[in-house]
């Protein structure tokens, strides 16, 4: 059996909600040992937020928690107790990487900041990820994904020119942060492997997400232009949009960039007379008459299924894709099935649930998806097997309320 990418890497995970856990999920799925610190008094927000399996709430039934915490070990630890704090520090001594995503300053106040942890583990790599970074006038201000998405400029450029901004769905930036976090963690890990030195990584999710706006930011810097939302239009392609298909709320995206693709497109839709008119024969002409073009395209797509349109177009070399919903993705998409993106995992409380494997696959190393932990499921394993505590020590912790 080939070795896993992150076999032997030990992670102490204080993080909660999305960005932190998604970061450590990739580590976990590729073989790192990730210990997640939980508490009953301050449960991970995703344990109490839905959606819950079958709409029945429960700490172990959360779709978000179960997706973002695959394969991790869960220990209940009360960090407000002196002995609980000590256990955390012992785990920091064990770990290669520590990760947290509380709002700025919180982990220091808890007595678990980088300077403290360095005392027990000089080589530790610690990553703090929060919305706006550990320093600066807004450092301690809390926020959530949807708020950062708006702050980072994505809402303003999503939607229709004459309408209020809409934005990509929900907590969009929550799925950028983990990528940046993983990248800098792995770089730091490699640096430490070569030099023996750990370090502190201050990740502002805002500073990462701004990179996804870089070209239009430069447009403002250099040209003083503030870009606005454009619906589904793209300045150098036509047709380019979402077209209604047969059925309830079914759409297909079609994008034509080249003369070749335009000719193929026309052929697929049967070379109707309107496609021969000069007002559609060049890109510039199509851009001038784009409203009418879109209407005509939709007259053809409306009577066909989105899947059929996509198949016909792609077979002819024209970019097209179904606007897939959750059912399409999980149940019907043959590509995602082939690539085994979705995995069905057994779970003691919800029966079965679906989780996604990591976003990248590699040729020589397997990943392994294991279900998310129940709350505190690995207290004994972590304390006994990893920290080598005796039954008496553990009993003491229980009595002093440290393991909750």
């Amino acid at each position: 059996m080939r070795k896993k990418l992150f076999e032997g890497i030990k992670v102490l995970d204080f993080s909660w909600a999305a960005v932190g856990p998604i970061t450590t999920k990739t580590l976990s799925d590729y073989g790192a040992e990730v210990i997640k610190i939980e508490s009953t008094s301050h449960p991970d927000g995703t344990r109490v937020g839905g959606p819950f399996k079958d709409n029945i709430p429960g700490f172990n039934r959360s779709g978000c928690f179960n997706q973002w915490n695959t394969g991790k070990l869960s220990i209940l630890l009360n960090l407000a107790t002196p002995k609980g704090l000590q256990v955390a520090k012992r785990l920091a001594a064990w770990a290669d990487i520590v990760i947290e995503n509380f709002s700025g300053g919180t982990i220091e106040r808890m007595g678990l900041g980088y300077e403290e942890l360095r005392k027990v583990n000089p080589k530790i790599i610690m990553l703090s990820s929060c919305m706006m970074g550990q320093t600066g006038p807004y450092a301690t201000h809390p926020g959530l994904g949807p708020l950062l998405t708006a702050l980072s400029g994505f809402n303003h450029i999503t939607g229709w020119p004459d309408r209020q901004p809409v934005g990509p769905s929900g907590a969009y930036t929550d799925f950028m942060g983990p990528r940046f976090a993983m990248l800098v963690i792995l770089a730091a890990l490699d640096y430490r492997r070569r030099t023996g030195k750990g370090q502190y990584l201050d990740l502002s999710q805002f500073e990462g997400s701004v990179h996804f706006m870089a070209p239009v930011l430069l447009d403002y810097v250099v040209n003083q232009r503030v870009v606005r939302r454009m619906g589904n239009r793209l300045s150098y392609a036509a047709p380019h949009g979402a077209y209604r298909c047969s059925g309830e709320d079914r759409w297909v995206a079609i994008a034509v960039f080249t003369d070749e693709e335009w000719e193929s497109f026309c052929k697929v839709i049967g070379d109707p007379l309107w496609t021969k008119e000069t007002k559609f024969s060049t890109l510039l002409a199509r851009k001038k008459n784009e409203d009418e073009l879109d209407r005509l395209v939709e007259e053809w797509t409306i009577s066909r299924s989105a899947e059929e349109v996509m198949k016909l177009m792609q077979a002819a070399g024209v970019p097209a894709g179904v606007l897939q919903n959750g059912e399409d993705l999980q149940e019907h998409d043959p590509q995602l099935k082939y690539r085994h993106l979705y995995w069905s995992l057994d779970h003691p409380e919800v029966g079965k649930y679906t989780a996604l494997r990591p976003d990248f696959v590699v040729s020589k190393s397997p990943y392994e998806l294991k279900r998310a932990p129940l709350q505190g499921e690995h207290n004994e394993y972590v304390l006994k097997k990893i920290l080598g505590m005796s039954d008496e020590e553990i009993a003491e912790l229980v009595m002093e309320g440290c393991l909750q």
């Binding site: 779709g63 997706q67 708006a150 980072s152 792995l186 990462g208 430069l218 959750g326 995602l336």
Partner: protein, 418 residues
Amino acid sequence: MSKRTIKGMLDPYRVLDLADMECLLCGKLLGDLGADVIKIERPGGDVARRIGPFYHDEADPEKSLFWFAFNTNKRGITLNIETTDGREIFKRLVKSADCVIESFPPGYLDKLGLGYEALEKLNQGIILVSITPFGQSGPYRDYKGPDIVAWAMGGEMYLSGDSDLPPVRVSYHSQAYMHAAVEAAVGAMAALYYRAINGEGQHVDVSVQECVAQVSHQFSTMPWDTNRVIQTRAGGSPSSRVRVTRLWPCKDGYVIFSVSTGIHAKRNNQPLFEWMESEGMADDFLRNIDWDTFDFRTTTQETVDRLEEPIKKFFLLYTSAELLQWGVKHRVQVYPVSTTADIIGNVQLAAREYWVELEHPELATTIKYPGVFAKASEVPLSITRRAPLVGEHNQDIYVGELGFSSEELLILKQANVI
């Protein structure tokens, strides 16, 4: 100009960047971490140079702001890998490289004899990172996947927009491919770490669709998986019967803010209402709401609209920057729906010294760029060099490193090899 002298975490590593368009972000980030990234373009320049926006709206391959944004820190050479000479030169470069990034259609490099198996024979430790719309394998492998298609096929597009109009993508450059580009950098680093322990490189396979599917999962496949619910762009949770405002027009644009309910309602809403009160903008209706019992799930649309009225009027008095500053001071989560101008002017980014000025001698100017994506205590990330001109480092690499003579370079140039 030679290799950067600033120390970075990835100092010892060389990356050959064959990628184009938004996939260029992958090599850029590795460069920000200190790797020696060589951007390899076709003679005349890559496609991304044709894409705007442009410096002063001048559509010139050396003035694409898109190119500028995603190629900082890289050196640049030209090379036509479709020629025999070009392939031989590429193979020589691979021998001393650690990582190759590419975004060609699946099978393209294999056809040229430059696929992973071939590269591995030259350099056992080479890591090939491939970014494609649907991945290296599968029934859609050869499907074309520009942003709107990948965004749609990954489930994000279906979720955005007004319910009376088609679903809508994020305008301008490809968010989908940017996600894939960063993920590809993660994959490259993961393979590098594995190589250090086990001695061999491998092929990293990134599908743009899959990256999008991860992004959409929470509102696409998760509601389906947990409760067979299909979330639409009309949004809202199935249990909410009322439409609640999240985006509020303000003096110079919009802010995002949610009126709190539940146990934190009073604490979260109180500062705003006190401020409104002090400005004479609160009213009896708002004052008389019992926040301990108020619940969006049980109230009427009429009530919601009525309570939002004075808040709407109030936000119109202030700019988004003013509301953000106030929000930070009073711990109320109200944030700007930023325009690009707002981001450039953002107080927190300025205080963090986020922006980087890079020199563009050819344009006789410096341009402000987004800065490093993380602050590292031991070995900081750094952005020190603007994107390369076409073939800017041909001399350095071909003559300086590979030992070609100037005459040979002239031959190669005329034969369209470089």
